[in-house]
Symmetry: C2
Subunit: 361 residues, 2 copies
């Protein structure tokens, strides 16, 4: 006999990227930052004693919220801290999407969205991005027609790396009847020359949530730390009701504060990733891949039409020599590989392997 | 305009016990272990470098699952690790209780249960414990009649500290049509002479889940680490589908392994808590409180009928002098205080204050 709910039994589980725990693996598959966390984070860890773990952690992580309020020049009641960005996404579903009602998303995007919607037993309303990975013009209209009370979009976009500017995000928030969650997991890697900033929009739109994470920009994927920014009325039910009371452990709170306190270090890693991103893209273009401009820490590389191997075969061949990249099936992606930007040396090992696999050496 | 779901808007939030972050507070309100975690946990922390946080943690925390499988003499597929026991409870609701369907619980018990049920928009079916805090005879029948697909009971019971033996738990699992989750948050403090062990039941009952936590027994409330034990078919949908993919951070996994690896230390803290529990109960009885036998790390103390203050007034007066205990409103509890067992010295500070407040000094 099986006891789980019908929707849980029928759903397909999320497939996380491979996380090998040992070995000389070049890991360019789950968009980690190639540089270690700030030395300030190590110092915070060094001064932490386990006796501090005897008690429950601060339930709403107010120390970290204060730091983030200062950083973003907003109020603490615009912020809720989560156990990774994934929890923030789940909590948005829990809080705003009733089972049976509609949840809106674009395709392709983060493959966790439909999984979370299935867990919530929501109806998934999908619209495809156009050929240049841009929003369909009638997105808001279609979502409103379907009655979606929450739409998630990832911006900069995954897996393409493209960016929608603040004016268009504002227009979208204005046009949507429900909540717009903009998943900014990769926003730290946007070219600063663009002066891209959605935080300024949260005062103007009572239905806009921004998701941030420490996983990429602060090199802390292993710490599970994320947060949502939004109008206090959007944040409050998550902060006080739907979130597990002690969702973020004491060490993560402390290390998160240390990471936020060393912006100069984080920004330097972002700069280095952007520089490596340019060089990697150039090299991939030389090898015949189709690669758009990316504002993230990964590139989506389309395998040359004349390549002797398919994207899936290349993914597999790379894996066999200890290089992990991400391959997604699905019509718009089946001829492409998503490659995390590594250090120059890592990127060179990858492109050398690709050159060999394509017979271009 | 308010965007949250109707059930979220209407529900009452969980009230966590006060967690003062500073000051000379005697904290006997949230059942933390009075002793620090094992030195082995500190050593594990000391050897952790933040570079290990750059990558995602092992998604299913298999290192810790292996340790726990050895400890409990079960298989890893009988175990799922969670971000504290609270997450385990939430995941049981998410996995087994469809919105609108019935969730069963006893009253009084852990006040989080109805909150989680409200978040899931489940119908809460409550039955009152009898006057000796025992299960009503027709509990299973009533729950089956109501169609409850999940019932949660806490054993040893909170806030009374009473224990239901394995035979009766087995009978209950056998009688229930749905899943029985036994919240064993306090099981480490049960008198070993009782040879109480529910783990042996999970092979016999395909509908039995046991919840364990590191918060109390391993002095790691601040780490957020818990787990569920059960038949592989019950564990699997939680492990692979409803759980956030990286729900437990890398440091917590490592420190949890270290804590489990030093059973001798943990058992010594349990022994000391039991000894202090006996002494504290004796002293409270001397002061005229009604106090039953407790198998947990807290005591439920009924204020003497002739006391000059009510339980709520005593709670407040203690708080004013920097001693936190827990007061719950509600008919069966309004004349009682739940007091966490502290060190002998802490317990003495508490009982001296109580003697003064009752005019028995």
């Amino acid at each position: 006999m099986s006891y789980e709910r019908d929707n849980i039994r029928q759903m397909t589980a999320y497939q996380w990227g491979e996380q090998p725990e040992t070995g000389d693996i070049l890991k360019l598959n789950t968009n980690e930052n190639p540089y270690p966390p700030s030395p300030a984070v190590q110092r915070a860890l060094d001064t932490f004693t386990v006796d501090q773990l005897r008690r429950y952690p601060p339930p709403t992580a107010d120390g970290l919220r204060h730091r983030l309020a200062e950083l973003h020049e907003i109020r603490t009641d615009n912020i809720v801290i989560t156990n990774g960005g994934d929890e923030a996404l789940r909590l948005a579903l829990t809080t705003f999407v009733a089972p049976g009602s509609a949840f809106g998303m674009l395709e392709p995007s983060y493959s966790l969205y439909p999984v979370l919607a299935n867990i919530q037993d929501a109806t998934i309303v999908r619209q495809a991005l156009d050929e240049s990975w841009d929003l369909p013009r009638d997105f808001a209209h279609q979502m409103n027609e379907a009655g979606a009370n929450l739409c998630c979009i990832v911006n900069p976009h995954a897996p393409s790396g493209t960016l929608i500017d603040p004016d268009r995000i504002g227009q979208l928030a204005s046009d949507l009847n429900g909540v717009l969650l903009v998943d900014e997991a990769y926003v730290d890697f946007v070219d600063p020359a663009l002066r891209h900033d959605l935080v300024r929009l949260i005062d103007a739109f009572d239905n806009l949530l921004l998701l941030r994470t420490f996983s990429k920009g602060y090199s802390l994927a292993g710490l599970r730390l994320g947060y949502l920014l939004g109008a206090a009325d959007l944040i409050d039910p998550i902060l006080t009701k739907t979130r597990d009371s002690y969702n973020v452990n004491g060490i993560s709170q402390r290390l998160g504060e240390a990471a936020i306190g060393d912006q100069a270090y984080a920004e330097e890693t972002w700069r280095r990733v952007r520089t490596a991103r340019r060089a990697l893209r150039d090299r991939l273009l030389e090898l015949g891949f189709g690669v758009g401009i990316s504002q993230t820490n990964f590139l989506l590389a389309e395998v040359p039409l004349d390549a002797p191997k398919s994207a899936q075969e290349i993914y597999q061949a790379l894996k066999e020599e200890g290089i992990l990249v991400r391959y997604f099936s699905g019509s718009a992606l089946e001829d492409k590989l998503r490659i995390t930007v590594g250090t120059d040396r890592e990127n060179e090992r990858l492109t050398n392997a690709l050159a060999r696999l394509l017979g271009r050496l």
